[in-house]
């Protein structure tokens, strides 16, 4: 059964002088335990689709279903807190919070208490391959690979079923990029999560269970 289903979704926004149609009748579905890649040229609507899957906005027409329930009917703040996590190309860590505090942030939103949240955060950092010494460091002192691993650990902190990653290796060298992809693959195949990744990298796309191609706001399987 699909954990996420996109049905005839259209999305547009008003720029200064015109309406920009970003997605046109997009339909697709995503299942637990699989690694999905969405590929396409820049401006094809990949990131917008990911953002809609994350519940950051609602489609102009059509619908997106999470476990059979329309996102229009769900509390989308709670959906983002507990059901879905996003990893960004630019990491988007809080610059003045250290690694541990960044990972704890989603847990604080879910009312998990101090010591318990800190312990869980430490375990998550170990899981993504980061040493104890990184815990008190600010993002500015970390490498790109380290920052992305912290972002992944933060994405896992809410125990979300769905992990969305927008070009997670875009700012990393090949070695770090491969390590990140391995972690994401393990989350899908070993932990049974639904991992959806946007990428330009053919090698990464080649490792996916399903590849969707975005072209001019439309989706091909």
């Amino acid at each position: 059964m699909s954990v996420l289903a996109v049905s005839d979704v259209k999305y547009a926004y008003q720029s200064r002088y015109r309406v920009v149609n970003v997605l046109n009748d997009v339909s697709c579905s995503f299942e637990m335990g699989k690694f999905y890649a969405i590929v396409g040229k820049s401006g094809s609507g990949k990131t917008t689709l990911l953002s809609l899957l994350a519940g950051l906005d609602l489609p102009v027409s059509g619908d997106i279903f999470y476990e059979g329930s329309s996102l229009k009917e769900l509390n989308r703040d709670q959906y983002r807190r507990q059901e879905v996590s996003v990893i960004y190309q630019a990491f988007h860590l809080f610059p003045l919070l250290n690694a541990l505090e960044n990972v704890m942030y989603p847990m604080e939103l879910n009312h998990k208490k101090g010591k318990e949240a800190a312990q869980t955060a430490k375990e998550l950092l170990r899981r993504v391959g980061l040493p104890e010494s990184i815990e008190k460091q600010l993002p500015a002192r970390m490498s790109g690979g380290e920052q992305q691993r912290v972002a992944i650990a933060r994405a896992l902190a809410s125990q979300a079923k769905v992990i969305l990653a927008d070009e997670p290796t875009g700012n990393l060298d090949s070695e770090n990029g491969q390590n990140i992809v391995e972690i994401l693959l393990a989350l899908a195949h070993e932990e049974g999560k639904c991992v959806i990744i946007i990428t330009h990298d053919e090698e990464i796309a080649g490792k996916a269970d399903v590849v969707y191609t975005m072209r001019d706001g439309r989706l091909d399987n």
Partner: protein
């Protein structure tokens, strides 16, 4: 972690932004404090001026030259008193009386020789002649001049010539003055002798009997006759209401003095007010107070606008942080509260520092600044809340994809 804890953490970690906002808050609150303090000092000076002012309305002849021997319409004085803005100073009036010892009682007769009954609203004319001049009968004192009891004081020699004693009843035939100065018979009246005096004070040097103004007024009203005070001055209760008092005097047909008038009336139709010194000091103060008061709302509006701009710019610089918070599932309310608490911490800290500094520098009592402080906090937080609400509408997708 509560929004407040997150806010506190954020305030401590965004040192540069916090210090900037704090500097703005301190400056605004310091300026407001000095402004408010200036206004309060002006008001305090105004109150001191008003409380200490001894302003009198002296009723005079129309050319202002004569203050006694007038024929004042008592109704005019009552009209001014009725406003509540002025109270009796000293009114004096007189009547003529005869008793059983007198042979001629007809006022129209050329041989009429009535005795003077002087009436006062206070014992001032008598005490001016000397403290030991008056001797009150048991149970009476100077307070009788504030009442309307039918009592009187008799001159000692006159008392002895009539074989009377303090405490006796004294029957007289009263005559009063009519409008125009004509003596007019009133009727019989009875007074209790409440004491004696050796000689009366100025104004009624030949008076052999003295009573309170209201006693004579009551006695004459029995015969439907009016009292015509011969001199009067009133004390202004509230100098800040001088204009209203002058309006009331106009309505009572008491005008300004006409010093150049060749012909003048002794009907007590003019008045002199010793308000010049007060006005010279009060007018600039009043102008200052009005100006500062008119600027007050503008200042609070300026605080709100500045707070809006500062909060907007500071939150704008953390727009990506807001977008990330929202993408992680923080609600709009949670984001609003966190940033609002940050503004509150900065605003309160700035206010304490600013107001504390101003109180030290200017010596203004902190109690005077409570209301301005509350107004400042309200204006600042209103501006900050508006800015945060506006930024909370940020399109998260656009921000995050732009950054990417």
């Amino acid at each position: 972690m509560t929004a407040l804890k997150k806010a506190w953490r954020s305030v401590l970690r965004h040192r540069g932004k916090t210090l900037t906002a704090l500097a703005v808050s301190v400056s605004l609150s310091l300026f407001l404090c000095l402004f408010a303090g200036n206004l309060e000092q002006n008001r305090a000076e105004w109150n001191r001026l008003s409380d200490g002012a001894d302003i009198r309305i002296q009723i005079t002849s129309s050319n202002g030259q004569q203050k006694t021997g007038l024929l004042i319409d008592d109704d005019r004085l009552e009209k001014i008193e009725a406003t509540g803005l002025a109270e009796r100073g000293l009114y004096t009036a007189r009547a003529l009386f005869t008793d059983s010892e007198d042979q001629e009682e007809d006022v129209r007769s050329p041989h009429f020789n009535g005795h003077i009954l002087a009436a006062y609203t206070a014992d001032t004319p008598l005490t001016e002649a000397g403290e030991d001049n008056i001797s009150y009968f048991s149970g009476y004192d100077s307070s009788l001049f504030g009442g309307s009891e039918a009592v009187c004081l008799l001159q000692e020699d006159f008392l002895n010539s009539r074989g009377l004693q303090p405490g006796d009843s004294y029957h007289v035939r009263l005559n009063t003055l009519k409008e125009g100065g004509e003596v007019y018979p009133a009727g019989e009246a009875e007074f209790k002798i409440a004491g004696t005096f050796r000689e009366s004070g100025s104004g009624f040097a030949n008076a052999v009997a003295v009573c309170s103004y209201d006693t004579l007024k009551a006695a004459l009203s029995q015969f439907n006759l009016h009292i015509w005070p011969s001199s009067a001055w009133l004390k202004v209760k509230d100098p800040t209401q001088l204009n209203r008092i002058k309006e009331a005097m106009k309505e009572a047909n008491i005008t300004s003095v006409l010093p150049q008038a060749y012909l003048f009336s002794t009907q007590g139709s003019a008045a002199v007010i010793n308000d010049r010194k007060f006005i010279l000091r009060a007018e600039p103060l009043e102008r200052n107070i009005r100006l500062l008061q008119s600027l007050y709302p503008l200042f609070f509006a300026a605080v709100a606008v500045i707070a809006f701009l500062v909060s907007y710019l500071l939150a704008q610089s953390r727009r990506d942080e807001i977008a990330v918070c929202r993408s992680l599932g923080e609600s709009r309310t949670g984001v609003f509260l966190q940033f609002f608490w940050e503004s509150t911490v900065v605003c309160l800290s700035g206010a304490v520092l600013g107001f504390g500094a101003a109180a030290l520098l200017s010596g203004i009592s902190p109690g005077m600044l409570a209301l301005p402080l509350l107004g400042y906090l309200a204006a600042y937080l209103l501006g900050a809340a508006a800015a945060i609400l506006l930024l909370n509408r940020t399109n998260v997708i656009q921000v995050l994809t732009t950054l990417d």
